[in-house]
Symmetry: C2
Subunit: 369 residues, 2 copies
């Protein structure tokens, strides 16, 4: 399990080029098959270079979570961006206004407060701001829940001058917690139907919407896309991770790993690594098809996992593995959740068959505002 990348200093983020390309091709093919636009969520990788690769392969545009991510992506040539999040606050909306002049931009909304703020900020603006209403479909997070909330918000937008409603979006994030693949597919179908129904309600109000957008990686790995859905927004599929690998019972598609060094072997079964919560995060998922055990999986191992992480240390307990590896050796760990892990690195090494192809800067790192 010693990595071929012994010459890279650690901890370091590696991306296997072939695995990533294969993951990208899979999802593009899926979107094409169902005649839906693919608008990948780039908060996973945070790299304009990979966003552009996704476009090259056929993606329609990109999704981001934050204004700061949209700004960096726009600076690097991405011109069709959806911020799938409720953006609130005058300073952020001023930045949205500036960005809206340059690119095709949309943002998420789920409350009237936002619309009123947008009207205020955009009042002297020639180009209106296009928005999609978020519809909650089972993950108890953001988005309108009741028909009344949806219709009231839609009417409020209809009466506004500088905000144009272009559709609805949802995130079936609860599919991560589905108990079985069948439950995941069921959740995906129900979420799609509910989102479609919300779209129909807007059309019945006489609003000319063009977008009904859904998507999360676990559901898009398994479920179909119902006719009428115009757009899918999965993100994690580009790299996969332990959570996603668990859902498909296959870790060989995981394209991103953290290269770490063995720094100590204090007992006959314990290995100490030079990477912990600040290099791998300390996340795990407790339930459902994406549940993860431990704090990261040794690549190409038969289920060897980190049993714990401290800030800068990781621990593995495994006698056989301990004896097969030397202090100083470098191994690759598949992170439990790749999205917050990428956010910890300035750059990734794009690698292929033992060689470094190039370094890719993670330019949206830390752009949480």
């Amino acid at each position: 399990m010693k990595s071929p990348y012994q010459f890279i200093d650690t901890p370091a983020l590696l991306i296997d080029n072939e695995l990533m390309e294969s993951n990208l091709d899979f999802m593009q093919k899926k979107a094409d098959q169902y005649h839906a636009n693919l608008r990948p969520h780039t908060k996973t990788h945070k790299m304009p270079e990979l966003a552009k690769l996704q476009l090259l392969k056929g993606a329609y545009g990109i999704t981001v979570a934050k204004v700061g991510e949209a700004e960096v992506m726009a600076e690097h040539g991405l011109t069709n961006i959806f911020i799938a999040n409720e953006i609130v606050g005058i300073s952020k909306l001023e930045r949205i206004k500036a960005l809206n002049r340059k690119i095709k931009l949309r943002i998420g909304v789920d409350n009237e407060y936002q619309i009123n703020q947008l009207e205020e900020v955009f009042k002297n603006e020639e180009k209106a701001i296009e928005v999609l209403i978020e519809v909650e479909v089972g993950e108890n997070r953001s988005g309108v829940i009741t028909d009344d909330q949806l219709l009231n918000l839609a009417k409020h937008i209809k009466n506004s001058k500088k905000v144009v409603l272009k559709g609805v979006f949802s995130h079936e994030g609860h599919s991560y917690k589905a108990k079985t693949i069948e439950d995941c597919i069921k959740a995906a179908n129900e979420s799609q139907q509910r989102t479609l129904r919300s779209g129909t309600m807007l059309r019945e109000l006489g609003i000319d919407i063009d977008t009904i957008s859904i998507g999360a990686t676990p559901s898009m790995m398994h479920a179909g896309i119902i006719e009428g859905i115009t757009e899918i927004r999965p993100g994690t599929y580009i790299f996969m991770d332990v959570g996603q690998g668990s859902a498909i019972q296959d870790f060989t598609k995981c394209a991103a790993t953290v290269l770490v060094t063995v720094i100590s072997k204090p007992t006959d079964e314990r290995i100490v690594l030079d990477a912990g919560a600040k290099s791998l995060t300390s996340q795990n998922r407790s339930e459902g098809i994406c549940a993860t055990q431990g704090y990261g999986l040794v690549k190409n191992s038969n289920g060897i996992r980190l049993s714990g992480v401290f800030d800068e240390h990781g621990l593995i307990y495994n006698k056989e593995f301990r004896n097969s590896i030397e202090i100083g050796d470098k191994i690759e760990i598949i992170p439990n959740h790749i999205c917050p892990t990428c956010n910890l690195y300035e750059k990734a090494y794009l690698v292929s068959k033992g060689s470094i192809l190039r370094e890719i800067p993670i330019l949206c790192k830390g752009k949480t505002q």
Copy 2:
């Protein structure tokens, strides 16, 4: 619970100046009282400016976890640094060699492999490298465990030409998981005694050591320091956090908070915040005096906690709080674990009584190599 810092964009890291100063004074007084050197672990704050403030208040030197942190601290005028970690790998040891020429540097060791690598890297070097042996004292992580391991390693170092053994260090990290304060104090005392005994064994080998170093925040908040201990290395005390606040049953000493914005209130009890795992981490502690519930505590609230975090969202369920706060309002969250949280920010706002004193760059952010 609305923060006075409504004009700062979010998510943002705030440090309350008075609370931080008070925390710094407490620990310096403790060290002075017991005639021990305070060598604060700066991996918590990662800011050279605050490291210098710690020296101004009487600290003897600083501790860091990584070579990269030591390099940044040295560049900014810190000249007495202990890397309390096993540094392995030729490229890192070459950096250690360069740093050792400029400042008073020490590193941790717990295995012969490291000593051999140090001998190789330092063979033509005039100035030897000073090391401390890590002794495991109850937290099952790194460090020598048995007397034989200690003595064999000490003899190995004694026979080396460019590695000078100056003492022992331990980290009573298991004090975080102590069931009661009494257990925490007991763990601290036992750890100190074991570390002292290791020091005595080295002196009996004829090795002229000057340092017996211990320290973690929970134990140093409660326990005394046994005579013979020359140095303490707590880190988190500068800011405290939900874990540390739990251990002292007092959250009013927490000096660092994450300012977040309420972006949605989709139900009559749910609040959605614009900060999640990428701004607060998703850590919690499951057991002991530092156990944390939820994913962060609303400052100055009577126990209102985040019930969950997504990458970029946080959730609070509380009807009364929900009705007392508006979309767009900014509130302060005390993170569960401040060390990996600081690592997510480029800068912190040093604040006092409603005003920003200045911005402090977090220059060691991401220096995990």
